[in-house]
């Protein structure tokens, strides 16, 4: 295919009989299976506000990001303005900026713009992790193989979630409503065991979010706007009070932010 601008690191691929494309497909199978289950809960949330099965499929196929998609579902259900939506998506997906910066260092100097543009599309926490973990320059074929066995499952999971929310008995679909929040908790709570600042930020966020939603003066603010404003205020405050130590790359933690 001639798209292999990779200078293999010593030891890399010597014992591998599979081509990079198929290795990518193989390595991403577990990611794809996980994606199906996770994006299923997004589908439940989307179905609740009236997304069709196809809209759910399209949403996940084109966005491939759970917190961004969920924020988008909430805002679109509120018929929010597009500037607000753009800001919210930027905030919910801000970490992709970091990953994109990090991954850009792994492209061979000869890598074409085309590869940068297409690999950027599938930059999720897990697929970023695969790319960073591979040795040598990033191999575009490897990434495309990984996309192929994960992103379609992400989209199908959401479609299936919308469908299931529509056909399951109310008792079951109501129980499934909390799945997405369980997923969020599984992402934000465990890192707090090692990082008290994260734990504190999460607790303060819970508290302020509750206060803003019940305090009469602010209760009428839509949940999308509330998320946007509180995120900017709290994250700014925490970043000023507890800045990270000056070691670049320490913040790239695809393991702990395992979410797409």
């Amino acid at each position: 295919m001639g798209k292999n601008g990779k200078a293999p690191a010593p030891g890399d691929e010597i014992h591998e009989s599979l081509s990079p494309f198929f290795r990518g497909m193989r390595d991403a199978i577990p990611i794809g299976l996980g994606y199906f289950a996770v994006s299923f809960s997004l589908g439940i949330a989307a179905g609740n506000v009236g997304y069709t099965v196809f809209q759910g499929f399209l949403l996940s196929l084109l966005n491939v990001s759970s917190s961004g998609e969920y924020a988008g579902i909430v805002l679109s259900a509120e018929q929010a303005g597009f500037i607000e939506l753009a800001l919210m998506i930027c905030v919910a997906n801000a970490r992709y900026l970091l990953m994109s910066f990090a991954l850009s260092q792994r492209f061979a100097p000869t890598a074409t713009l085309f590869h940068r543009l297409t690999i950027g599309f599938g930059l999720t926490d897990e697929l970023f992790g695969l790319g960073i973990a591979s040795k040598g320059w990033l191999n575009p074929a490897y990434m495309y193989g990984a996309f192929l066995t994960s992103i379609p499952l992400w989209a199908l999971g959401t479609a299936f979630g919308v469908y299931a929310g529509n056909v399951l008995p109310v008792v079951l679909s109501e129980a499934l409503n909390v799945a997405i929040f369980g997923m969020f908790l599984a992402i934000i709570i465990p890192p707090g065991k090692k990082d008290p600042v994260v734990l504190g930020s999460v607790a303060v966020s819970f508290l302020l979010s509750l206060l803003v939603s019940i305090w009469p003066l602010t209760a009428s603010i839509s949940s999308g706007t509330r998320t946007l404003i509180l995120t900017i205020i709290i994250a700014t405050a925490v970043a000023l009070l507890f800045p990270l130590k000056d070691e670049p790359a320490q913040e790239i933690r695809s393991e702990s932010m395992e979410e797409s």
Binding site: A37, S41, T52, Q55, L59, L62, S67, A71, G72, L75, S76, Q79, L85, I89, N93, A94, R95, Y96, L97, L98, M99, F101, S104, Q105, L113, L117, G120, V171, L172, E174, V178, A179, F181, G182, M183, F184, A186, I187, I188, I189, P190, G192, V197, V198, S201, V202, S205, F206, L210, I214, S223, R226, T227, I234, A235, V238, A239, P243, L244, A249
Partner: protein
């Protein structure tokens, strides 16, 4: 004027895509600003926390069910940390309370 979900989906996809490809294509230098790096590091935790609570309370037919799922979710996330265990635990909590209390 009411916008269709398709408009929202396309718009979201464009913004998400730009965030992902801008550093890969135009701004290839790493971020060195300490405040900005810290801000980007904390943002996901804060935004997911704000989206979770109190929304989880009103996602079920009773604040009690959602509240119980919230507490069970935090405990399971702390103890096991496994995404599916936490998701399933939250769902089962609501299911049980719903069927037992009725």
């Amino acid at each position: 004027m009411k916008h269709s979900y398709y408009t929202y989906i396309i718009f979201m996809a464009l913004v998400t895509y730009l965030i992902r490809v801008l550093p890969l294509t135009l701004l290839r230098k790493p971020i060195t600003n300490r405040f900005f790096r810290s801000f980007l590091y904390y943002v996901p935790y804060v935004t997911l926390a704000v989206m979770t609570f109190p929304a989880i309370l009103t996602s079920t037919s009773s604040l009690l069910y959602g509240g119980a799922a919230f507490i069970v979710g935090i405990i399971l996330a702390w103890v096991s940390g496994n995404l599916f265990v936490v998701e399933l635990g939250c769902c089962i909590t609501v299911l049980l309370m719903n069927t037992l209390i009725h």
